[in-house]
């Protein structure tokens, strides 16, 4: 089943290569991410499948918001180099690289030494019932810290790359005259989204709180919580969130993640606890870390989404 789906992925990729219309490319990208998500699920990794499903929805929303005005721009045909320069030579180069990689291909061994070590010990070392969460919160918590740092840096970069001289952006008053989304004019859509919205928020909180027991965790739950705010924007068409305060909150949450993780994991604060408190505190550590990561990811993507709305409204 998985090889067939991978074949579909390759076909979709070739469609994207051959297509020149930007709007169709974005639709193909959504289909591509959906098939990829099913592939991850069949490869036995529901955590990554969930993350990819929500992340691809965000990618498509970002693309559609930002490229609405640029849909008419297609590839400019280059006059200087002919079909050989544009297509044939890159194709030969790519095929040569592919042959080289196939020749020096890493051979898959059947052993998974480190994985088995983690699977055997994660309940006593870190706690919980989901080894994936145990790895990214316990054994490899450095990765999570740097991931959090990358999210903060991206948000800061997105804000500073789109720095305007506009006063209303500087003061955080995002008052917009024209309406961006026309969803609020359709009664059926508003009614449907109003029913779905609270369930999405509930689902995000569930993913965050049950990350150590079931597939899910801070990243996926945070993205689901951020999608609640996107739906809220679509039905009420309001930009009244205090973005400055959310940015400050994200920075504070990042600092607290770092301090908490460093004090618990690297300094070994849990070793001083008595035996009966130890198990309780393990679960508490995972809950707090998942909650903080979820809050931080949600803050970051709310800021990015509202920044895009401001960029879009500002006009070209």
């Amino acid at each position: 089943m998985t090889p067939i789906l991978l074949g579909f992925l390759i076909i979709t990729g070739i469609f994207i290569v051959l297509e020149r219309n930007i709007a169709r490319i974005i639709i193909y990208l959504a289909i591509f991410s959906l098939i990829a998500s099913v592939c991850y699920m069949l490869m036995g990794s529901p955590d990554v499948a969930m993350a990819e499903a929500i992340a691809s929805a965000f990618t498509v929303i970002f693309f559609i918001i930002c490229f609405e005005k640029y849909f008419s721009f297609t590839d400019a045909v280059i006059g200087t180099s002919g079909i050989a320069g544009r297509r044939i030579i890159p194709l030969v180069f790519t095929l040569g690289l592919f042959g080289l990689v196939m020749y020096f291909r890493p051979i898959s061994y059947d052993t998974m030494y480190l994985g088995e070590l983690y699977l055997a010990n994660f309940t006593t070392d870190v706690g919980g019932e989901n080894p994936v969460t145990a790895i990214y919160l316990g054994y490899r918590v450095y990765d999570t810290l740097f991931e959090a740092l990358v999210v903060v840096v991206s948000v800061v970069a997105a804000i500073h790359l789109s720095a305007f001289s506009d006063e209303k952006v500087k003061t955080g008053q995002l008052i917009t005259k024209e309406t961006h989304s026309e969803v609020h004019e359709s009664g059926l859509a508003v009614y449907a989204i109003q029913i779905i919205c609270p369930l999405m928020l509930l689902y995000g909180v569930y993913l965050v709180l049950n990350g150590h027991l079931t597939p899910g965790g801070g990243f996926q739950g945070g993205l689901a919580i951020a999608s609640f705010f996107i739906c809220r924007y679509m039905i009420y068409n309001v930009t009244d969130l205090p973005i400055r305060k959310i940015i400050r909150m994200e920075e504070l949450v990042f600092v607290s993640i770092t301090i908490f993780a460093v004090s618990i994991v690297f300094l070994g604060a849990m070793a001083y606890l008595p035996e009966d408190l130890y198990l309780t505190f393990q679960i508490g550590y995972m809950l707090i870390m998942n909650g903080l990561i979820g809050l931080k990811v949600a803050c970051g993507f709310i800021i990015l989404f509202y920044r895009y709305i401001v960029i879009e409204h500002d006009g070209v």
Partner: protein
Amino acid sequence: MDMNVTEIVEILTLVLFFVGFYGLITTTNIVKSIVFISLIETAVVLFFLGIGYQMGIMPPIGTDLDYANVADPLPQALMITAVVIGLTGTAVNIVMFITIFRKYGTASWENLKNKNSEQGLC
């Protein structure tokens, strides 16, 4: 040439990676470049998760696990991070494209190069 399903999955993900690579080096549109970067990221994630793939492999949830038929949890924990970082990278790429579009009024790498060389920037 006998190949098991693990090798087939590995080769297909490599093919997908090079489809994205070919698109990235041939396209002249900035938006398409951003799309191909996210496509290559998906191929890399698929490659990592496909290591040791078997038919009917089980997700590693729970405590009583049969190690012979369960997926490796280590690449999964790394790839969750990679997916989220890929999303933020795409977001920053989009903002950079919009800044370039406002400054130069073009969505094509070639036109951008021409405009830069007119101004003596490169």
